[in-house]
């Protein structure tokens, strides 16, 4: 597995609060777009397709176990 799963963000509470703040006052539609932009930018930053597909595979599989 090349995906890093231990904590990498210096202050998770700070980051989480900032993330939620970002969505304050947005419509659901706006929030979806904001999230999409965040994902695309981070994906581009990560670059490594092994890592990116690992994430997508995990989420896809996880979705399967939900239903």
């Amino acid at each position: 597995m090349s995906l890093r799963t231990e904590l990498g963000v210096a202050d998770p509470d700070d980051f989480y609060a900032r993330l939620i703040e970002l969505h304050e006052g947005l419509t659901t539609e706006q929030s979806h777009k904001v999230n999409a932009k965040v994902i695309l930018m981070l994906a581009n930053h990560v670059g490594d397709t092994d890592v990116l597909y690992e994430v997508l595979d995990y989420v896809e599989k996880d979705l399967g176990s939900d239903v």
């Binding site: 890093r4 799963t5 231990e6 904590l7 990498g8 963000v9 998770p12 509470d13 989480y16 609060a17 993330l19 939620i20 969505h23 304050e24 947005l26 659901t28 929030s31 999230n35 995990y58 996880d62």
Partner: protein
């Protein structure tokens, strides 16, 4: 009448008897005299009581005015943090707190139907400490233990059923008006500590208010008495089947009493919720139908997170809930308030004895506003995670919880309450910033970490050697020390020198038994720490230098900035 009827709607079916204290007619009512005290303390909650004892230990005279004739009722503080126990160790009630309290270090977090926790956390990363991460004990016990200390201190006393009704905050003194069952009278003082709780009549009398008020959800808080073999762990649920879409918590207290919280959501019918059959049904759904229990106390609360803009207003100083209010999920209320006491008492002592200038008190504002901000921020963030305020916030929250099952990083994002930690007084004007290379941990402003030591042939704890006065800690390889060490400090502000050694039998020196002090304090032979009466670091150096230490002492006492 419930003492805190105004914050929680209380239903009481059985309860432990609280002690009742007698009203004694104050002499001023007949004499008409305005007695002067160096310090008057409004409010006999944990913060007012601890302030009086701490001041008395410094030899400062005070009187506590308490509106009621008893200790805390209702469901209030249960979690007392390690730093609080260290402060109470200096003040004198930690032994009884430990004897009666339930020790715990761990929190477990559950999500949905899963019966296994998604996440477990340990709150005591540093082992080998005198005190555990937390104990749980009903607030009224903590108050009773403080009250029991009063007879030992002729410098202070409690006046029960003495209600502060007015404050005149002059530049040279404060005059307070006090109402009692036998009539009204006045007292004067150099400083008024307003520890009169979240509603603070003193705050109102001065026309002051809280800022940044954030309201939290409705919580049903039940203290039930039962024989149960649940672990003494803080167990917290997100979206459990017995309280869908909400959170819940169960935590053990003394006397087989358990604290159970149910988050209720915003739109509730308060009358309906408080009906006995509805409370019963909630608790039964959680505990199962076969457990026998009795109610100790049940309240419905809404919580607020906010603070005053400034805590020092001339000669009136706010401490505890009167100054800052938080939701209880970080256990930061009383724990934060006791850090106020720890911070304030030594400063008042130095100012009232003329050893330090009055503006030293202003540093209480700098340092404790920092602490209060930290507490308000952490408590608000926890409640945001528990009560997501929008659809997308809920999606992030639930995504975090789901990821937490598989990934370490996500567990660190889960926020079921960030429990009280001692605040590091970064940026305080009393700190002397490092000029030598040191690790961060015990930087200026940090509270000293405990460690097992060996002194005069006996085991002891490091923190018990510090506190209540300035101390210089000299780390010596072989037990030798420069003679100049004793030349810092003055008659009015003495500095006690402690010598820490790494090896040998210590003698009267402090032997660092397991090397913990050297590690945590990043110490080498020659390292010197100057520590304040509240056990926070004032400054540190690789090599003792009399002038530098003297300057740091002046800075830490407001004599030089």
């Amino acid at each position: 009448m419930a003492k805190y009827g105004d914050i929680g709607k209380a239903r009481q079916t059985s309860r432990q008897a609280r002690r009742i204290y007698d009203f004694v007619k104050p002499p001023e009512i007949d004499s008409g005299a305005i007695t002067h005290f160096p310090v008057v303390i409004a409010g006999g909650g944990p913060i007012g009581l601890a302030s009086a004892i701490d001041l008395a230990r410094y030899g400062i005279r005070s009187v506590v005015l308490e509106k009621y004739n008893t200790v805390s009722d209702g469901s209030r503080a249960i979690c007392w943090a390690k730093r609080t126990l260290e402060i109470l160790d200096r003040i004198g009630t930690s032994g009884r707190m430990m004897e009666k309290g339930v020790v715990w270090n761990q929190g477990w977090v559950y999500f949905g139907e899963e019966t296994e926790p998604v996440y477990k956390f340990d709150l005591l990363p540093d082992k080998e400490q005198k005190f555990p991460a937390f104990i749980n004990l009903q607030q009224f016990y903590a108050e009773e233990y403080l009250i029991d200390l009063f007879p030992q201190y002729p410098q202070t006393g409690i006046r029960w059923q003495n209600e502060l009704t007015d404050v005149v905050n002059d530049t040279d003194k404060v005059i307070v008006t006090v109402n009692t069952p036998a009539g009204e009278y006045r007292l004067s003082c150099d400083y008024l500590i307003a520890a009169d709780g979240h509603r603070s009549p003193a705050r109102e009398a001065l026309g002051l208010d809280f800022i940044g008020r954030v309201f939290e959800d409705n919580f049903l808080i039940a203290d039930v008495r039962m024989k149960a073999d649940f672990p003494a762990i803080r167990r917290f649920w997100f979206d459990p089947p017995f309280n869908p879409g909400q959170t819940s918590l169960i935590h053990k207290q003394a006397d087989d009493v358990w604290r159970i919280d149910f988050q209720m959501g915003w739109d509730i019918d308060r009358e309906e919720v408080m009906k006995e059959e509805n409370i019963d049904a909630k608790i039964r759904a959680f505990l199962g139908s076969d457990l026998e229990f009795e109610y100790e106390w049940v309240s419905l609360y809404t919580f607020k997170c906010c603070r005053m803009e400034k805590f020092v207003h001339g000669r009136t100083i706010f401490a505890g809930d009167s100054a800052h209010l938080v939701s209880p999920f970080g256990a930061r209320g009383a724990n934060g308030g006791l850090q106020d006491v720890d911070n304030l008492a030594w400063k008042l002592h130095l100012v009232l004895t003329g050893a330090a200038p009055p503006h030293l008190i202003n540093s209480y504002d700098d340092e404790r506003i920092l602490g209060a901000e930290e507490n308000v921020m952490n408590s608000s963030r926890s409640t945001d995670f528990m009560t997501p305020k929008s659809e997308v916030s809920l999606a992030f929250r639930n995504a975090t919880l789901e990821l937490a099952k598989d990934f370490e990083f996500a567990r660190r994002f889960v926020n079921p309450g960030r429990l009280s930690t001692p605040s590091v007084l970064d940026g305080s004007p009393l700190n002397t910033p490092d000029e030598d290379e040191f690790s961060d941990r015990q930087r200026p402003g940090a509270p000293c970490l405990d460690a097992p030591v060996y002194i005069n042939g006996a085991d002891a704890w490091f923190l018990n050697q510090l506190g209540s006065r300035f101390v210089g800690i000299y780390f010596s390889g072989d037990g030798s020390a420069p003679a100049e060490l004793d030349a810092v400090g003055s008659g009015q502000i003495p500095v006690d020198t402690l010598i820490v050694t790494e090896a040998g039998n210590g003698g009267k020196h402090i032997l660092d038994k397991n090397g913990l002090l050297h590690r945590h304090y990043d110490a080498r032979p020659g390292t010197y720490y100057l520590v304040r009466p509240d056990q926070h670091v004032a400054g540190r150096w690789r090599k003792f230098n009399r002038v530098k230490v003297t300057n740091a002492l002046a800075r830490a006492t407001g004599l030089a900035g």
